[in-house]
Symmetry: C2
Subunit: 316 residues, 2 copies
């Protein structure tokens, strides 16, 4: 299982290339919830989400043979863009397997970073099969979106930066989908401050991590129903192990609560955060923080990649 | 005419209460335009725009009699919210005259800051008459949205903060409507760095400042047609005088360019900026900067108050 030292090492690796994203605060928010809230804004990370941290860290560990052969992943989301950019920055060739149903905007973004897009059918089976045959035929290295210790350690650097800036916190909130961000966050936080509480927040419509955590058994997600498209995946064995060990609680967020949190961030904080990124603010806005006057709470806003076509169409 | 010292004094006055807004940069933007761009993000200012700076500075100059009587303004936009908040922070009573056609969201925001809203008819004549009768009957002090030296000096503090952070720039861009922001910006910038160029950017559909500047005569705006609702007003005599003296050029932005700039800020920079606030980015995105390799350009993004109801309705 990775330790604080792995996150510290990842932090040195990504230091020169990743953005040190800002920590935002809001008088309105603090007054409203009776706590001191620190928002770590990974929507301002390169390629629009925290995923760049883990992708770049994973690439940094490749040996020469792996580097010259190149890397592959399958993703229709933020990991695809992050790996494409990290590969370009690292001078490594990347192929990204994306389902034909992916939004044209996302496919263009991946190509824009210089990666090659390999289209497949929309099923998970087709994604894995297509990636698998590229690994076999071209000796590419798979960079998994979350169930990979190098990716988890990279993801943990966001929490580490936040805690460096704020000092000790009472509670740290992160969204949970595949569990990479929550695993890295809890490893960094508990390593630095053993007394801190770390909670994962998950959409009620994709509650596999909630059920796995509370039952003690890894239960895969089937038929997720949530606007938070980055959180529809299942925990992996590595992330489940870390979360079981280091996370204090996983709680659920309803769809209307996720949208309300996103709207607060856009309307009041003036920042564009995607639904998956706004999930971790739900306990703050909905009065589900632990009791205690002026407790200090960190919130990781994981990304800001939203399709704005519909909104801008209304302005034409 | 106000001088650098007036802006410096305003900066000391607002220091404890206004946000020192961040300066953002973007590798993508710099590469795209071949210059170094520094965005001063007044969308993160309290009440959502630079207007809080001038409103608070103006209130700080009131004598005891004026303070106890209270203040008044007429505005359906950002100055209304800014004065309401500044008055609350200053412990001064404020009445805001707003047209009946104002959006309910804006009326609620002004009330939310604790000001009293006085509704009037939708014409400018009705607004001025309603405010005038309150001034006469209740001895309220008018805080004009832009044609007021205290308001202009306060507005100039945004450029001053930017230049403190960046050091000398080749060019500084600011939107122009009534001209308060551009007047304060040029006063601060030319006072600190006499060699800097200062340009105003104005919607082509509300081009009174452009025509006034280039003809040398104050031409009022009639029938403005632009999405940039904060820039539909006419220059005042005070702002016209300063702009004539200290601004190097005023250029125009088309409606589709304004929307494109706004979309770039939302989609790539992940910040919510209103149309009036995005206007100053148009010359950067549309290739209208002065020639010169890697010139250093400051851009004032004036505010981020956008009605998001329609967008969030689509997510329900």
């Amino acid at each position: 299982m990775i330790q604080l030292e792995d996150v510290q090492k990842a932090k040195r690796v990504i230091k020169e290339v990743a953005n040190r994203t800002p920590v935002m605060t809001s008088r309105t928010l603090d007054r409203q919830c009776g706590a001191r809230i620190f928002l770590k804004c990974e929507n301002f990370q390169r390629a629009g989400s925290f995923k760049f941290r883990g992708a770049f860290n994973a690439l940094s560990t490749l040996n020469d043979r792996e580097r010259s052969a190149g890397v592959v992943t399958h993703s229709s989301g933020n990991h695809a863009q992050a790996l494409a950019l990290a590969a370009a920055v690292s001078g490594v060739r990347a192929k990204i397997v994306m389902p034909r149903g992916s939004s044209p905007v996302k496919i263009e973004a991946v190509k824009g970073y210089g990666a090659e897009v390999v289209l497949c059918e929309n099923s998970l089976a087709s994604r894995e099969e297509t990636a698998g045959s590229l690994i076999a035929s071209e000796s590419l290295t798979l960079i998994h979106p979350y169930n990979d210790e190098r990716v988890i350690a990279g993801a943990g650097t966001a929490a580490m930066e936040l805690l460096e800036e704020t000092g000790p916190l009472d509670l740290l909130l992160a969204p949970v989908g595949g569990g990479g961000l929550l695993s890295g966050t809890s490893t960094a936080a508990k390593g630095l401050y053993p007394e801190i509480k770390v909670w994962g927040v998950e959409p009620a419509g994709a509650d596999d991590a909630y059920r796995s955590f509370h039952s003690g058994e890894l239960i895969p997600q089937t038929d997720p129903q949530t606007i938070a498209d980055g959180l529809r995946t299942s925990l992996g064995d590595k992330t489940f192990e870390i979360i079981t060990e280091r996370v204090d609680n996983i709680i659920l967020a309803e769809e209307n609560e996720i949208i309300r949190a996103m709207r607060f961030l856009w309307e009041r904080m003036k920042i564009v955060v995607e639904p998956s990124g706004a999930v971790s603010l739900v306990p703050v806005l909905e009065g589900r923080l632990p009791s205690g006057k002026d407790i200090r709470v960190g919130v990781i806003l994981s990304g800001g990649n939203v399709n704005l076509q519909a909104f801008f169409d209304t302005l034409k």
